[in-house]
């Protein structure tokens, strides 16, 4: 069990992000989305990265190690921000981590996009009013140079009041200089002071508040006073909001300002942008002038074209889907074969001790195998995702698809996670991280397992082949297969609408995003993403899947039944115990029935009778809860043809068709077949999915919620189908 002990400790290590007692300086990379934060982070840390969660929320925290003047420092890649006034959970977490005294960094590296100075200066102007220690890393200067622009760094640095270091992350340019500047700033922290040029009426009022507060023994800075005046909920006000005498001072001045018809937020933004625009025009020696149509515009004319754009989009999505559906298959077969080979060898070595043999082969090796089997799909999908993100196409995909997904409360970025889920929900759920806000991320994660994954296909093929096709012909067989793939999607829409209207009400976030300039993917970033996703899956979701596999093994293995009793039953049916007499299958079946899980199945069997399922189908369903892949072999065992069958086996189809209820009625009517397929389509029979939800939402609550609603939905719909079918005489 050394493996799991190791994995468990990494799990704890990576999930519980403890706020260190600061043996090392803490550095935060802060910046607008698309400013080049992650590339700079990768360039500074290399592979020395750790992925965890901010305490208590689904927001991921990526941190790493960087060397500053020969000493190690911790560096955190803070989620992209437009403003310190957070409106989403991700932004809230990021802002809180920056401003809270216990977690606030020793240094902020503000990543500023040189080709979009004005808007990038807005957030900087807010940072400058906190007491954070800031150094600027100026990115995308290569873009400015290409457009024949030139920035005077001395002028810019003079305006900002801190060092400004140009960096080109993918060429490793400026990294050394940035590290040196970081070292200097950590050694000598200083606060920034900007003159943002607020209207006189505001600055005068702020000065009066400062004066009065000082007289009453409260230390307040002019910027803090202005913050309270402009926004009464500003956290600076917390110190005296509850003291009526002091708060009255603020209220008085607020009345004066607003009486003069000043819209606080508008004035705030106007002043900051006026400042930003001034800084920009003075810092540019030569203005950056895009020559004619830029390459990005030309590519976009095609890729966002109303016809070609959609056609190309569908083509790319088809390629992504095919890759995880088809190209991953040989790798998965290889892993499967490797698992069987190891199981064969190890099983042979442990022949003498059946309990240990079964634990190692069916529990541990199976457990490891069922984790590793997901890696090809996860790695292939994240290869695509990071290339699509890296080139800038991902934002276009969201732009194209937003209308289609936006109306029900999702957004355009949900397309890839949902599409991937048609191959497998695990990579699909992990891909939901491309969505920058927690609300749509949660909704996507919760409906992703409804998409019909490839593991459901064998059930459809078996039942359609055995029941639908012989009676209704190939056309109906094809139609029902199509319908089965569609039903999950159809059900997902009302689920999203309900979640949107009920659960996540009142937190609707604007779509607002940018279409970044096209560029070639940075292979270093791609490789890092693929491997960090694989690692995260292995150490977190993988540990849970492994532990659950061993647990399920135990529930199906214990208590050991009495083989002699099974022999007696077998002989009692007038059969002989011999090789190939079918006794081995019978004993296996009886053993499962007598196991803890088997007894449980028996006990709840009556629950499934209204759906048209007898004890065999019920037990097959229960056996498939950990992973629906096992259902076909399980039905083989339960319908007496042995576990060595697949969805094309004629023997299994025959025994399903000839199976009856105790009173002689045929078991598998077309209605029962449909009801069983719908159950499999909607039910969350996959513990790996639950483990992935737990990992991505950082909470078991949402994993159980998905399990609960999907199981309930599956049950209700399959009962409804069976009952309606009976009314029509099925």
């Amino acid at each position: 069990m050394k493996w799991s002990a190791f994995a468990l400790s990494s799990l704890i290590d990576s999930v519980v992000v403890t706020e260190s007692d600061r043996t090392q300086p803490l550095i935060a990379l802060v910046g607008n989305p698309n400013a080049g934060k992650t590339s700079l982070f990768n360039a500074l840390t290399g592979a020395r990265q750790k992925v965890g969660n901010y305490p208590g929320v689904t927001v991921e925290k990526v941190s790493g190690q960087v060397e500053i003047e020969g000493k190690p420092a911790e560096i955190v890649d803070v989620p992209g921000l437009y403003s310190l006034a957070a409106i989403s959970t991700d932004e809230e977490v990021a802002v809180e981590a920056l401003l809270d005294e216990s977690t606030s960094p020793d240094l902020v590296v503000y990543v500023m996009d040189a080709s979009n100075l004005e808007r990038n200066l807005f957030l900087f102007s807010q940072l400058a009013e906190t007491n954070l220690n800031v150094v600027v890393g100026l990115t995308l200067t290569d873009v400015v140079h290409r457009e024949k622009g030139e920035i005077d760094l001395a002028v810019l640095s003079n305006h900002l009041g801190c060092e400004v270091i140009p960096v080109v992350s993918h060429k490793n340019e400026g990294l050394k200089e940035l590290r040196e500047a970081m070292g200097r700033a950590i050694a000598e922290p200083r606060e920034l002071e900007l003159d943002l040029g607020f209207p006189k009426i505001v600055t005068d009022a702020a000065a009066r508040v400062v004066e009065q507060m000082n007289r009453k023994g409260i230390d307040l800075k002019p910027t803090e006073a202005r913050c309270v005046l402009m926004d009464e909920n500003c956290s600076t006000g917390d110190r005296f909001r509850e003291i009526p005498e002091l708060w009255a001072v603020v209220e008085e001045e607020r009345k004066l300002i607003f009486g003069a018809n000043v819209q606080a937020r508008t004035v705030d933004a106007q002043s900051r942008y006026a400042w930003a625009s001034r800084v920009k025009s003075e810092s540019y020696v030569l203005p950056s002038v895009p020559r004619g149509r830029t390459k990005t515009e030309m590519v976009d004319a095609l890729l966002t074209h109303r016809v070609f754009g959609l056609v190309i989009f569908l083509g790319i999505m088809y390629a992504v889907f095919q890759s995880i559906y088809t190209f991953a298959a040989p790798f998965m077969d290889l892993i499967d074969a490797g698992k069987s080979a190891v199981a064969g060898v190890v099983g042979g070595l442990l022949e003498g001790t059946p309990v240990l043999q079964s634990l190692v082969v069916d529990g541990i090796i199976e457990g490891i195998g069922s984790v590793v089997i997901f890696l090809p799909q996860i790695m292939i999908l994240f290869l695509f995702i990071s290339v699509l993100e890296g080139t800038g196409y991902m934002a276009r995909a969201a732009f194209l698809m937003d209308r289609l997904l936006g109306w029900c409360g999702l957004n355009g970025r949900a397309f890839i996670p949902l599409l991937s889920s048609f191959a497998c929900a695990i990579p699909g759920i992990m891909a939901a991280r491309v969505m920058p806000d927690q609300r749509s991320r949660m909704m996507t994660i919760l409906v992703a397992p409804l998409m019909s994954c490839s593991a459901r296909l064998p059930v459809y093929v078996l039942l359609i082949g055995a029941v639908i096709e012989p009676r209704f012909g190939a056309v109906w067989a094809g139609l029902s297969l199509f319908f089965m793939h569609f039903i999950g999607l159809a059900v997902a829409i009302p689920i999203v609408l309900i979640l949107n209207k009920g659960w996540f009400k009142g937190k609707r976030l604007p779509f607002m995003m940018e279409l970044p300039k096209y560029q070639w993917p940075r292979w270093k970033d791609v490789v890092l993403t693929v491997f960090s996703r694989a690692k995260v899956f292995l150490v977190t979701a993988g540990t849970i899947i492994f532990a659950m596999t061993v647990l399920i093994w135990a529930l199906l293995y214990f208590p050991r039944g009495d083989t002699a009793a099974y022999e007696k039953e077998w002989v009692g049916q007038g059969k002989v115990v011999a090789e190939d007499s079918g006794f081995d299958q019978y004993a296996e079946l009886r053993q499962r029935e007598d196991s803890i899980l088997g007894r449980f199945g028996r006990a709840i069997e009556p629950v499934f009778v209204p759906a048209g399922f007898d004890w065999r189908l019920t037990t097959a369903i229960l056996a498939a809860f950990p992973a629906r892949e096992v259902v076909v072999p399980a039905m083989g065992i339960l319908f007496g043809t042995g576990g060595d069958v697949d969805e094309e086996s004629a023997s299994l189809k025959d025994s399903i068709n000839s199976a009856t209820w105790p009173d002689g009625r045929p078991l598998m009517t077309p209605w029962t077949a449909v009801s069983l397929m719908v159950f499999f389509a909607l039910c969350c029979q996959c513990m790996a999915t639950l483990a992935a939800i737990k990992r991505e939402t950082n909470s078991w609550k949402w994993a159980w919620f998905a399990f609960g609603y999907m199981t309930a939905l599956a049950y209700i719909l399959s009962v409804a189908i069976q009952q309606v079918g009976r009314m029509f005489g099925g």
Binding site: Y82, S83, A85, I87, S115, N116, L117, E118, R119, F122, Q263, A264, R265, T266, D268, A269, Q270, Y273, S277, K280, D300, T304, H305, R306, V307, G309, L310, A395, F399, L400, D402, R403, L404, G406, P510, F511, M512, M513, E514, L515
Partner: protein, 80 residues
């Protein structure tokens, strides 16, 4: 210069407009202001998605995608 008061629904590709006012209640309006959509700002509609929404605006030297519903709170004036 011909000026015409319009709303977000009237925006077409290639059109240029100036923002006259932004609402001042919701978080959404604050975000619009923070992104530089403040009174007096001029922008150009550079793209409209094939399905009719969202659209891309060019302002302050950068480009921003917004949904029509999110910019309905802006009072706009069409520029020539």
């Amino acid at each position: 210069m011909a000026e015409r008061v319009i709303s977000a629904k009237d925006l077409r590709r290639g059109m240029r407009a100036r923002i006259e006012s932004v609402g001042d209640e919701e978080a959404l309006h604050t975000r619009l202001l923070e992104l530089g959509l403040i009174p007096g700002t001029e922008f150009k509609v550079t793209k409209i998605a094939p399905l009719g929404d969202p659209m891309e605006l060019e302002l302050r030297g950068y480009r921003l995608c917004v949904r029509q519903s999110e910019v309905e709170c802006l009072r706009l004036v069409e520029l020539d």
